[in-house]
């Protein structure tokens, strides 16, 4: 495993292309200051894990990167494009950034295969046969191809989440965002989803993952970020982060979840 991390670090060092750049970003919900002066740079192939107590603004942060939420101050630059009011840019960014949610958000009225081909056919304008081929390839990769013609409601939570990951991958995104992808799952299903994510990390995908699965974080993360009350309190390499956290708040938090 350590070898893999090394090679991927080499890759990221060689092509230190900036995928995400966040400068002094602030966000409010009404009067409530959710995100405070956030600065973050993510290079191609880098993998960040974000953790922190509930309500600290983790979801809000990654939803801002995907333009699902608007920020009020500062800049977010994704794949060289600055997020703003321009709707065309938004659609472009959303096709380049995949996102996986806590509760899957699959489309219940479409079969698994249709869920996967919807974006490629309507957004990427792919021919249907090609879209189906790609979709089957990704279903194969998340080990669920035999369920292609079922409806989401007929699958288990773990299977649904793997479908959701495959659905995002079908759009061949440059960046993948994960918002607590395993926290709505029964314990025995968590592993199957994490395995898929580890495999994805091995392909060199740029990833930001909000999760409290510390084993997973140690395996894949280049850096772990700890958020509290809208601030990025601490960021560090996983070994250092879990071994001897600098801040007392981080220490407390880790004590609670470990």
């Amino acid at each position: 495993m350590s070898e893999e991390i090394n090679t991927s670090q080499l890759v990221s060092a060689a092509t230190s292309e900036q995928m995400i750049e966040i400068n002094k970003m602030n966000k409010w919900y009404g009067d409530f200051h959710v995100l405070k002066d956030i600065n973050l740079t993510v290079h191609k192939g880098e993998r960040f894990v974000i953790c922190g107590p509930s309500g600290s603004g983790k979801s809000t942060l990654i939803r801002c990167i995907n333009a699902l939420e608007e920020h009020q101050e500062g800049d977010i630059i994704v794949d060289g494009i600055k997020l703003g009011k321009n709707l065309k840019n938004l659609d472009h960014i959303r096709t380049e950034v995949g996102m996986v949610f806590q509760n899957f958000n699959l489309f219940p009225h479409l079969t698994i295969l249709e869920n996967l081909t919807l974006g490629p056919i309507w957004v990427r304008k792919m021919a249907k046969a090609d879209a189906v081929e790609t979709a089957m390839m990704y279903l194969e990769r998340v080990k669920i191809s035999e369920q292609a013609n079922k409806y989401p409601g007929q699958l288990s939570g773990g299977q649904q989440q793997r479908v959701a990951i495959a659905r995002s991958l079908c759009m061949s995104p440059k960046i993948m965002l994960f918002d607590e992808p395993t926290s709505a799952l029964d314990p025995e299903m968590i592993k199957e989803v994490l395995d898929v994510m580890v495999e994805l990390a091995d392909t060199g995908m740029t990833m930001i993952v909000v999760t409290h699965e510390m084993g997973f974080a140690k395996t894949i993360a280049d850096e772990v970020i700890f958020m509290d009350a809208g601030d990025i309190v601490e960021r560090n390499k996983p070994e250092a982060f879990f071994g001897n956290p600098e801040h007392e708040r981080t220490q407390q938090f880790l004590n609670q979840i470990l």
Binding site: N66, L68, L87, D91, R94, T95, V97, G98, M99, F101, N103, F104, N105, L106, F107, P108, H109, L118, G119, W122, V123, R124, A127, Y151, P152, G153, Q154, A164, R167, S168, C170, M171
Partner: protein, 442 residues
């Protein structure tokens, strides 16, 4: 008694009340002396009502007579159906010329044939079939019903409609016989199954274009005599008004509902205002406004006939109700669906059309059908602005000299007609609901 059962407990038969009607009767209707008494009294009341109606409507009724007098000579207490029977053509077609009735029937048959594939599971491309009905059928039917000279536009649309109808029928046949769409069948016939998408598309467009030219040439010499809208009436007119009302109030309602949820303030305020204004006045007022006030606002020389005014009123009025139904349906869709759709790059229209609406419409079916039934019944109000729809026709029987004063029978007949139509619609909606929910298990 032992708490732990050592051996497997045997299955016992379910209680009688669960399995046999007799058991059900005993539990629900005859459980005590008092309940038995109540049941018997109720049965007696039901018997009295039904036997009374049966005697009036059938046993003592007169079916053959030339005027109301003869009915009375036959029986004083029975119904005089002869009057209704003599007026049947009027009730169904109004004053549409008797030699031209086939045109109304043809229009009806075309519609049924056109929509038939929607009910056949083997036929493909249902969305196209549905869209072609809404886009083309009104022009074809419109010409068949009105007749007269065709403008260039009408020639064009009528040809399109005929072409769409023929393709639809071929598609139905190839679906039923070969279990494929007509396009696939065509490729097979011409040996182009393996050809590239582009060749296939060109072939398809070529065939369509050639067929269109031929049909255009043939239909240009086809005319039917003109029938003024003032001659339309009866059930035919009711169905025309409510048909147009149904077909256009749902799309318009969707637009209004989306407008009301729009982020653009102008669009939102306009839609909301429009919906609230039309929903807060009774249809009757809208109809009166349309006929008396509307012409005042219109430029000099601009003139809409009463039928069009009536139709516009019914459409706008119902679109507002549809809009609220659609809005409620949209609100029931979780926010995650919008977000899931955005993250795969679908924009506003893609999200609405492919993800949100298909789910929302399914939830809305009962309300939509309820509204359609209401619309059908409400259209009878157009008799107020002097259109002779079915209610107008039923009521004019009593003013016809031979049947002077015959009120009850025509109205009962109308009630039965409406019941049949509305009840089958609501039955169909139930069927649709269960079919759709079987398809998309959650």
């Amino acid at each position: 008694m032992a708490i732990i059962t050592k051996e497997k407990s045997p299955d016992r038969p379910a209680p009688l009340s669960e399995t046999t009607p007799l058991g059900w009767l005993r539990i629900n209707l005859f459980s005590s002396t008092f309940n038995t008494g109540l049941t018997l009294i109720m049965l007696f009341i039901v018997y009295l009502t039904i036997s009374g109606v049966f005697a009036w409507g059938y046993l003592d009724a007169t079916f053959v007579a030339d005027k109301r007098r003869e009915c009375y000579d036959n029986s004083l207490t029975g119904a005089c159906w002869a009057g209704v029977i003599a007026w049947l053509d009027n009730i169904f077609y109004g004053r549409y010329p008797r030699d031209e009735l086939w045109r109304v029937n043809l229009g009806g048959v075309l519609l049924v044939l056109w929509m038939a594939p929607l009910w056949m599971s083997r036929v493909k491309a249902k969305v196209l079939v549905g869209a072609s009905v809404i886009i083309f059928y009104p022009f074809l039917a419109g010409y068949i019903f009105t007749g007269g000279d065709k403008s260039w536009f009408m020639q064009f649309m009528v040809s399109g409609a005929i072409l769409a109808f023929i393709i639809n029928m071929l598609n139905m046949l190839s679906g039923l016989i070969e279990n494929t769409s007509f396009a696939k069948f065509l490729f097979k016939l011409s040996g182009q199954v393996e050809a590239s998408d582009k060749t296939q598309r060109n072939l398809l467009y070529g065939v369509l274009f050639a067929a269109f030219i031929v049909i255009f040439a043939i239909q240009s010499s086809w005319t039917v005599t003109e029938v003024s809208w003032t001659k339309w009436g009866g059930l035919f007119l009711t169905l025309v008004i409510s048909g147009i009302g149904i077909a256009s109030s749902l799309p318009l309602g969707i637009v209004l509902a989306l407008g009301r949820r729009s982020k653009l303030p102008v669009v939102r305020v306009l839609s909301t205002g429009f919906i609230e204004i039309f929903r807060s006045v009774p249809l009757i007022t809208v109809l009166f406004m349309a006929t008396t006030m509307f012409p005042l606002f219109m430029p000099e020389g601009f003139f809409l006939n009463k039928l069009v005014q009536g139709i516009i009123s019914v459409v706008l009025f119902n679109a507002c109700y549809m809009a609220e139904i659609v809005r409620a349906g949209l609100q029931a869709i979780p926010k995650g669906q919008f977000e899931g759709s955005h993250t795969i790059g679908l924009g506003y229209w893609g999200t609405m059309g492919l993800v949100i609406m298909p789910q929302a419409l399914k939830h809305m079916i009962p309300n939509i059908v309820g509204n359609i039934i209401g619309l059908l019944k409400d259209t009878t109000l157009v008799s107020i602005i002097g259109l002779f729809d079915i209610l107008g026709m039923l009521r004019s029987i009593s003013k016809d000299i031979p049947w002077l004063g015959l009120h009850k029978e025509p109205l009962v007949f109308g009630a039965i007609l409406f019941f049949i139509i509305c009840f089958s619609m609501s039955k169909y909606s139930r069927h649709l609901e269960s079919k759709l929910s079987a398809g998309n298990k959650r």
